[in-house]
Symmetry: C2
Subunit: 356 residues, 2 copies
């Protein structure tokens, strides 16, 4: 028996492990993790409604276990053409270097916040879990998701955010420590310098809320799973370690960077999207940031970087790619997603001296 069965019983899982939703991986990763008895997640922030339907269909062809659909719910910033033009101007030397035309139109994936149209898709698909990043959608949308029978989860980066989510009636809270890769879920604070490490955040969130807590940030091996549960978490969320699974299908430049990653190779940056996120320090982060006050608001900063990223990646370079990673990539073992899930669970059980 695991020490705290709340998440397991709530969702119907065998293992207290959530695969973090990450833009890039699709149905294959989520299905493999869910089918292994943990919670697979599909990041829907960069997908349109049709893509969400088709990925969910693919998951359901592979497994009948519960899975999680994740959405961004930021408040969209007003367009700021002057700021975006200045950002493009800041990037102009790179455009020249790579032989690109800054005036060419850029096709960008959707990064719209969760809205009525997407809510209708969720009500139709009824995933076991819907998780949000950057707070929660407005009350009407939230109610519709709950009435569709979905459990609702969101991320907190501080105790204050956790208390706010608890008061809003979420079913579980992800305590996203500063060690975590990808976008910080912060929504009641923009004080990046005060973001709290996983080790410190988890027990303080556990003490502050009624609902079960999912620890996230720097958990990439069984020691991390066992330690997070020891800190009081009911389950863990694992991101970077799953990126190294073949089912994740990440780009060759991202994969190579993760394989070479050392503990001190990441930083929080806003240059890729306009919102702070942790990634491996590359040329764009080093030369533009890692934090740049001129970066347009989320997600507009990504637009001007997109052509640079594509051109560089085509030449085998990750200079302009967001190489999202947590601070413990070097602990990850490269294997299949189901095998990773089962090993994390089995070894953590052993460390916690839990009988099957």
């Amino acid at each position: 028996m695991w020490p705290d069965r709340r998440i397991l019983d709530l969702v119907g899982l065998d293992h207290p492990i959530v695969q973090a939703p990450m833009v890039g991986p699709r149905a294959g990763l989520a299905a493999a993790v869910s089918d292994a008895g943990a919670l697979g997640s599909l990041a829907c922030a960069a997908l349109n409604a049709e893509q969400v339907r088709s990925e969910v269909a693919a998951i359901r062809r592979s497994t009948d276990r519960p899975f999680n659909l994740n959405f961004f719910c930021h408040r969209p910033a007003s367009p700021d053409p002057a700021r975006e033009a200045a950002w493009l101007e800041r990037l102009a030397p790179y455009y020249r270097e790579l032989g690109l035309d800054p005036a060419a139109p850029v096709a960008m994936a959707n990064r719209a916040p969760f809205d009525e149209a997407m809510c209708a898709v969720v009500e139709d698909l009824r995933p076991a879990v819907v998780s949000f990043h950057f707070g929660l959608p407005d009350d009407l949308l939230l109610r519709s998701v709950r009435e569709a029978g979905c459990l609702v989860v969101s991320s907190a980066t501080t105790v204050r955010e956790a208390r706010w989510l608890d008061a809003c009636g979420v079913d579980a809270i992800i305590a996203q420590g500063a060690d975590a890769g990808g976008h910080r879920g912060m929504f009641l604070t923009d004080a990046l310098a005060s973001q709290v490490g996983t080790f410190s955040l988890v027990p303080q969130v556990v003490d502050a809320v009624r609902v079960p807590v999912i620890a996230a940030g720097g958990i990439a091996d069984a020691r991390g799973v066992a330690a997070a549960l020891t800190l009081g978490a009911s389950a863990v969320q694992v991101g970077t370690a799953y990126l190294l699974c073949p089912e994740a299908g990440i780009s060759p430049v991202h994969l190579a960077a993760l394989r070479a990653a050392r503990d001190e190779d990441t930083a929080l940056t806003n240059v890729f999207t306009g919102r702070p996120a942790r990634g491996l320090v590359n040329r764009a982060m080093a030369e533009l940031g890692p934090v740049n006050a001129e970066a347009p608001a989320f997600p507009s900063a990504a637009v001007a970087l997109q052509p640079l990223r594509q051109r560089a990646e085509a030449a085998g370079s990750g200079d302009f790619s967001p190489l999202w990673s947590g601070q413990a990539a070097s602990l990850a073992r490269e294997t299949g997603a189901a095998d990773l899930t089962l090993r994390l669970a089995e070894e953590a059980r052993g460390m916690l001296r839990i009988r099957r």
Copy 2:
């Protein structure tokens, strides 16, 4: 039996707990912790030789258990009068506000690095453990410390620093996660944005070195002790929680700030001393930093702040005081140092299901 007895057996301790050396507390705190069976520490960075002798005599009147003397071993920066004058100029509005004369001489406590004179004191006093911050002293001094029979310990903030210390032959390495309060021990990097959280750092350091690892940063209750040992540490170092003990004797403004501290109230700052350290955000940090490129090199930045700090503290304000704190102050239980030590050990044993 604790899972890893290396530190316990090396030093001769009952509990795998080190009280972090912190400028301020003196013999009373170290003696109480050592006498309770953990490792008490005396921060000697701001003491002169005579003060070190007298504090050690006080510890030895209270207990015959092992204790730790801690020293800074930074490479002193060349004096930079222009930079120091500019810093004083930057602080001039505060001097006017508090009715102070910027031209008045400032009496500062010693912050010299470990040198031959202090080494002679150590060779004479022969503490069980000597720990260093900011790397290690030069080979001759290090050899003298070892030949005096002292175990040598130092802090690493990255795997690279840990490997360097291991190669230098230290007896144990403190993995100081970014969650930790006080000065970052960083000495091979100045990349503050890439400092690694405790949760991620500890297992990566454990995997990288041969010697036992002491986890530090955000450990303030028994969950933290048990989780750090689960991550592979042989012992833990606890700082902020000990500051709240009456034996620490910290200033009323510091005590009040720690009692009110929330998880998101700290940041890394260089404005108080010129080197990065984690403290509770106060007026000086908010208005001057938290990181200010103009701050003079360590420890000179402290000189111009000293009169402001003294005047403000006399009026009950911590506006200009370094309010050192880790990210988990709110987890600390206010009690005596021996009681805190025994409770941390006893409760962690229970969580790890260890029989006495």
